[in-house]
């Protein structure tokens, strides 16, 4: 069975478990105006992406047509409807990294992977997110791939770093670079 990892507690969840956690979230938003986007965000943070059953459940509970929910999800690039990629790439845009060119690095990665922030490559190898400080300001700009920090990153080095993960057979693990 397909299991998704909860990104908050790192547990692996079945679809049924996902839906019951979702109900807890939704209970807090009963009869709240403008709840749709916050609920979708919370659900995505929790499951890493928005699956069809999750969106359907949100549609039913918030009394919003499924097509309307889908319209919102497909409008904002930070929502993702596919499971997270094997490798999570996070670009720090905290102050230090930002000043030292974090934005340029982000652009280079977007171009290299052909995706936007919040999205996942079609081969499900990479997902892209931004971060707000990984506590490595002294070595700015940094990016983080899975749990590994790549320091003093440069736009021209992006392809090389990503290739390293492309060629790796196994999943995410801690390593020294």
């Amino acid at each position: 069975m397909h299991r998704t990892q909860c990104r908050e507690c790192r547990e692996h969840l079945s679809e049924k478990e996902m839906l019951s956690r979702l109900d807890d979230i939704l209970a807090g938003y009963k009869n709240v105006d403008g709840a749709t986007i916050p609920v979708l965000q919370t659900a995505q943070n929790m499951f890493g992406y928005l699956s069809k059953p999750v969106m359907k459940e949100i549609s039913r509970k918030l009394n919003k047509p499924y097509s309307e929910i889908a319209g919102i999800v497909s409008f904002y690039s930070f929502f993702s409807t596919v499971p997270r990629g094997k490798h999570l790439v996070r670009v720090c845009l905290g102050t230090a990294c930002y000043v030292r060119g974090g934005k340029r690095i982000l652009e280079a990665i977007k171009k290299e992977l052909g995706i936007d922030v919040g999205q996942t490559t079609e081969d499900r190898l990479f997902s892209l997110d931004i971060g707000r400080c990984f506590g490595a300001c002294g070595m700015a700009p940094v990016i983080m791939v899975n749990d590994t920090v790549h320091q003093r990153c440069k736009a021209v080095k992006v392809a090389e770093i990503l290739d390293h993960y492309r060629n790796k057979k196994s999943g995410p693990e801690k390593e020294q670079v």
Binding site: A70, S74, F75
Partner: protein, 588 residues
Amino acid sequence: MFCAYVNNIKVEVTEGSTILQAAAQAGFKIPTLCYLEDKTPQGACRVCMVEVEGARTLMAACCTPVTANMKILTNTRRVREARRNVVELLLSEHKGDCKTCTRNDDCELQELARALGIDNVRFQGETTAQKLDNTTPALTRDSGKCIKCRRCVTVCNEVQSIGSIFPQSRGFKTTIGPAFDTMLDDVVCVQCGQCAAVCPVAAITENSHIDGIWKALDNPEKFVVVQTAPAIRAALGECFNNEPGTLVTGKMVAALRQLGFDAVFDTNFTADLTIMEEGTELLMRLKKSLVEKQLAPLPMFTSCCPGWVRFAEHYYPDFLPNLSTCKSPQQMFGALAKTYYAAKIGKKMEDITVVSIMPCTAKKYELQRPEMNSSGLRDVDYVLTTRELGRMIRQSGIEFNALPDDKTDSPMGRSSGAADIFANTGGVMEAALRTVYEIVTGRELPVKKLHLDPIAGLNGIKHASLKIEGTVGEWNFLEGIEVKVAVVHSLGNARKVIEAVKNGQVFHFIEVMACPGGCISGGGQPRFTNDKIRQKRINAIYKEDEGKQLRKSHENPEIQQIYKEFLVKPLGKKSHKLLHTHYTARNM
């Protein structure tokens, strides 16, 4: 009230009026595209732009409120250029071939281009990606033709409270459609076709059955019978430039005969039959509840409208036992044509083709519901919308307006005025009460001209109550009872009335029609329909009703005949097999 100036003409406007309304008051027509009367303006198309003194940018007239002493200019060079740009851009993106488009007689985009005097398109760019969606039985969507005006979104969401269609994605990639640009069949859609009725172009249209019908008509082995819904006669004339509300009953029959149908009948006949069955069903439920003190599903809901039936199946499965088990008149007709009538003329049912002319797209869906085969075959074979029939008549070179009046055939062609009013909101209820009241009291419904005024007209939710007095025989249990009825049209209002019932409001009988105004403005009627046109069609229907000697279903001699020769009695064994049905709970 305050003053404003439109092209230097002073007008007095009420607070909250839009520029569009003020301009109309001053006698100026501002072109619009996405705008729909009485609905929340979308401001999506920017075709309605005007200049306002003191404002830097042009303003959208449909959604900008007038302020005191506002000076509005609707026809400056800047305005004309801007509107032209907008429409030229739409034309350059539009992937359609006007020469062969089904909308080329009533396309609003073409009309707009004409109105703005556009004689060439200066832009050349990418056209909208074309994706055809004919996953549902009733409708075809063509994304290449969609100009993203969002009228369908407004109607499906605001009026019908369904929301099958919303804008998806963003920027140039935006599409107007079901979730994640999938197919209509992947989301809840009741096939009412109200989206197709407001679409200005051919991006949503009915699935055409014209070819199949020509084939059947050309096949000498097939005996092709046709039935016409009550609402056709008050609208078909509009396809031939007649004023809305022109009755064309006789010409319609003549045209069908000229097209080659072997027998021309009337859905009105089975509308009368519906009253016999449904009226009896109501009385049985009341008896069960009041006399036998058993649980009976009340209020009873009407079941003639397949859009409403599908809606209840998706959203209110708990209420399905409350729906009358009567099939719609269209389906009753099909089942009888292939049994009762086939036997009468000595034909095998497989040699009979049943065609319906309907104001409705959902009827194309209804005919293919798996259970609609009680004759042994598909009870109805093809459905043409009013618009399609208009097209077929034109294809044949028939001079519609010059046709003499003709009469329907027997034995399924005669009807009472009660059947006519099935076409409009309030009609089924009034027709039922005309018969039920008389069964129970032996007297005529005690209202002027047999019309129950509180449930007539275009108010969304209507109520009436009727005190039953002077009951006869077995109906004494109803003596002194106040029968409470409600009538709603459009599914948003259906939702409201069901919620009211859930909250304890008491009704005995509720009529629901999915389309605003009822079938007279169904998804298959001539475009464009607004409340003024709805009212004209309704007036025509009442005129047809009042012009008849027969005003009550139970007095129709052909109805008496079919019970005598074939059905025996309402809710009898044959009725159960051929005229009644069941419903299926569905997911959301």
